[in-house]
Symmetry: C2
């Protein structure tokens, strides 16, 4: 698996910080690091009131430092990406214990006086991975060499990054040259590079997507992490810019069975998978007329094996497309990989 | 006509700067100021090679200052909003003559050493109207009181702002309480306020649209200037965020007959008007199920009277909707205004 080169070198291993989070959907950064960069995570640390856990060993910043950790990574995000005042004491404690702070949130660490002063006093680093690179161009809309796959979702935080990572691993295991392209803070922490799509100025968002997956060899696959949802009342514009700029040949639509309301927007129903596929193909055809949907990725993490198998089979039958949960793997996932890579169309 | 209050007070009257522009589509800021804030424009000034003119008196910065001008407004935009090196000498000359500089481009005036040094030396102001306000929230998706109209286009730079301004004037003339909401640099210069949608960070773009047209009295109309196009390979994400956040009750689709290729993206065809209406209603229904299209605004500025009348009649017949060129006015435009304001649906 090849990752985008990026001019950052993050201090590691990590201590994962969970804030005071009670909503697992907001802790996807922590879960992603545990699952895809587990060798770089020594444990987790939370404030009073948190109910979410990664299952890693709970430890204080001092214990983590003694165990080798060199940075605390903020592993949770609120809607809007702000840093609540209740977290500041914990972050100061981490710096006192010898750890740098890494954040993927919109709020910049240096904008908090207490964090900046503490970091300056102790010589710690405050690293914001959500800062996009300078000089992003307006999208050209021109086609470029290489093959591209984009994951899209019926909502946020339901498996678009996991699916892209799992497909990249599977492509590589089959001897196919593939690169995971990260578009969000967790992906960037895992990959060591990427562009935080949601932090790019709106006029340049499609241009950022073009920059993220540049011209490659004809048989190379870029597997691009999707963001948001084309039906999301706040983030649909980001999703559309990423779709247009990525110019995917193949899309895989991600969904969580049983999720009925948009996360953080209970007034909005999660759209149907078929409707999402149809809209994505229609909009995506604007920059790549050859776009096709290879299949569906279901996040069945809240279901038991039998229930997961049932909903996967049912969805496959209903849509007439390969359907799999990449984290469960198996034949269903291999069929989804086959469908992604098939070149007879 | 009520305009949004904004915490800026721009120096005026203006001298309009046209750079070395040869493409009229890129000079929409200058044309907009001439047509909608003409009493604040003393003349125009261009570099060698420019072929575009507003028809205002050509004058040097020194002549303009003698005639009362207090600021040079950059009245042209390139794709991407950069400031080419060839303009810098002209901008320095303007400051030497006593004028402040106002820009609506992405590039910040203070980032150019020669402009910053000259401004500091002479005590001139460098004003960037494309700086969005701080603290824009993520869109909530919640409905709010008041009525909203959004103009949408089949491309950039073909009359979305003009149409919104003309409709606001027409609503007010009929005694309807209406506010023009500006989303781009020219509109902000005309209105004295607004939010530059394309400069907002992508995650907050729909939130900016919510902020721009807040809760109002039930019978008040916000008439919102559209941006980009849902089919634009670089800017569709901005258009979708504006559509979702504005939650319009009514849309008016703007088109320029005869324009076949997307401005600056000759590889892309301009979409059909009917297709644009259908997609806008489908996507807009996500945040306002009651959305409807009142009609079409055609920019017939390149046609003679007979040809304009013909294409307006033909388009009306083909689509079965009111069609008018707001700048030509007449009965066709009054019928479009009727359709916007009708409440029997």
């Amino acid at each position: 698996m090849i990752f985008l080169n990026y001019d950052v070198s993050l201090p590691q291993p990590y201590l994962l910080f969970l804030g005071d989070t009670t909503e697992p959907g907001y802790a996807k950064t922590a879960f992603g690091l545990r699952d895809w960069a587990g060798e770089r995570c020594v444990g987790e640390f939370a404030c009073a009131g948190a109910t979410v856990t990664t299952g890693l060993r709970a430890m204080t910043p001092a214990q983590a430092h003694a165990a080798g950790a060199r940075a605390l990574v903020i592993g949770v995000a609120n809607a809007g990406g702000f840093i609540p005042a209740t977290w500041l004491a914990a972050l100061v404690e981490a710096m006192e214990a010898g750890l740098d702070i890494i954040s993927g949130m919109h709020a910049r660490l240096r904008d908090f006086d207490v964090l900046r002063d503490t970091a300056d006093r102790l010589g710690r680093r405050l690293i914001d991975v959500r800062q996009p690179p300078a000089g992003i161009p307006v999208a050209s809309g021109r086609r470029r060499g290489g093959r591209r796959l984009l994951t899209l979702g019926t909502d946020c935080a339901l498996g678009k990054k996991y699916t892209a990572l799992a497909l990249t691993r599977a492509f590589t295991a089959r001897g196919v040259d593939a690169t995971f392209r990260a578009t969000g803070q967790t992906g960037i922490l895992i990959a060591g590079g990427g562009i935080p799509m949601d932090a790019v100025v709106a006029d340049f968002a499609a241009g950022a997507a073009e920059l993220l997956s540049p011209e490659t060899a004809a048989d190379h696959w870029d597997v691009i992490e999707g963001q948001g949802s084309l039906f999301h009342p706040a983030y649909a514009g980001v999703s559309l810019a990423l779709l247009h700029g990525s110019q995917p040949d193949v899309i895989v639509v991600c969904h969580e069975p049983g999720r009925e309301r948009v996360l953080g927007h209970p007034g909005y129903a999660v759209p149907d998978i078929g409707e999402t596929i149809e809209l994505a193909l229609r909009l995506g055809a604007r920059t790549n007329a050859g776009i096709r949907c290879a299949g569906v990725s279901l996040n069945t993490s809240k279901l038991d094996v039998a229930a997961a198998r049932h909903v996967i089979a049912q969805t496959r039958e209903r849509l007439g497309l390969p359907v799999a949960d990449p984290l469960r793997g198996g034949e269903a996932f291999e069929l989804l990989v086959d469908a992604c890579l098939r070149t007879d169309t």
